[in-house]
Amino acid sequence: MKNRVVVTGLGVCAPNGVGISAFAKALEEGKSGIRHFTELEQLNFSCQVAGKPNIKNINLNNYFSNVQLKGLDSSGLIYGVIAGLDAWKDASLEKGNSNDAPDWDSGILFGTGILGVDKFRESIYKVDEGNVRRLGSTSVIQTMASGISAYLGGILGCGNQVTTNSSACTTGTEAILMGFERIKAGKVKRMLVGSCSDSGPYVWGGFDAMRILPRKYNDNPQAASRPMSAAASGFVPGSGAGALVLESLESALERGATIYGEVLGGAVNSGGQRSGGSMTAPNNEAVQRCIREAIINSGISTKDIDAINGHLTATSKDATEIKNWSKALERSGSDFPYINSFKGHFGHCLAAAGSIECVGTLLQLKQQKVFGNLNSEDLHPEINQIIAANKVPQETIPYPLHSIAKASFGFGDVNACVIFGNYIN
């Protein structure tokens, strides 16, 4: 007997909202989290707009001990711990006391692309000055990729698997599916899953150098990220973290937990960087297979998909993604499901994108609404040839949602697609 897996807690640290209620409101009302950064201008970035969570008013003492806060300079780690602990609390779960035995039934699968770049920079300067003895004790734990799962694991006292995955912009969605598989297989009762991504020029610079970020919106940041738009000219770099508590249905019912939705299934694959796929571009056949396998794995059919939250980063390739969805689902025109991308609101949060967007997707399911797209009003003509324009809502609309597909695609030609369903008792 395989376990059913439900979502019982959500946490988020996003550029347009920190905490579930602020984030839900921002998505519903179309509030942008994209700003101009003087720092990027001074460093001669072509794209000087970005998405960065505003944590100025967050009391970090609610998340970290005083000792942990000393010399803490890893933004992704901070976002990840905020989102992770918020999700745990949202699921009405307790932090283990430091004297308690580990919670053997709970694990963590929390991904990242690169962690603690600002801390690493500080360390590099000291090493180059011949001053390695002055690094202090936390340069390793703040910069190791698994620092995020290690911090969360220690704070919560989790005794099951505690690990970090990394698959570029697929990371967050992949983490959810890895946690889902582990619960389904009966190896654990609950998993805190999610991902985080650092802010700042050292993370975003490489993308600026690739000339794949928009350059013409430095004086109009909120219009810069334009998924599915005819004027889409590149993705706006973002940062933050999203977290979900996944739990076996049995455990959730036993605890009387609030259920946001069910993870019906999913799939991950790679296009092998063949047949049009490359380090930076997806193999279309692989994308379509991933979506189809996710639907089969979920035990539903393509016509059951009520809405899609796409990867849709706001590059000229968005039309290709729509084509892939249309082929995989064998649906087009006005038969196509509603589709949106939250990247218009907060940019592309890289390794954190999948988890933040899955949090938004579950909020849609819970509220039975499709959140409106931002900056997609001038729909790309190639997209309009495939699907009806009203399938790309510009405003939030109430709509009965039974199942939503969410996909993420990443550098390395890797894909992940998860299907969330409305939990019906």
């Binding site: 001990s65 005083n66 000792v67 010399g71 002055r134």
Partner: protein, 86 residues
């Protein structure tokens, strides 16, 4: 720079206090307190205490000095020795 014994003790106490777990208060710091077993300070943080001591007293501690630094009293003796050597 010269410090009275009391000044040295207070300075050290302030540094040590900043590495205490949240459930241990600064009152727990006594001359004979062992950093890790009595005060429950994470042994990795002893490295940070040493760096803060170096900054506060303008001295430099060797790895061997750190090995012998188990209690508050040990630390004060090492600080005295390093100040005297300057």
């Amino acid at each position: 720079m010269s410090f009275t014994e009391e000044e040295k003790y207070q300075k050290l106490k302030t540094i040590v206090a900043s590495y205490l777990p949240d459930d241990v208060t600064a009152d727990a710091i006594q001359m004979e307190s062992n950093f890790t077993t009595a005060l429950n300070i994470n042994s990795a943080n002893l490295v940070d205490i040493v760096l803060d001591v170096e900054d506060a007293f303008d001295i430099m501690l060797e790895n061997e000095d750190m090995d012998g630094m188990l209690t508050v009293k040990d630390a004060l003796l090492i600080i005295d020795k390093k100040i005297a050597e300057k």
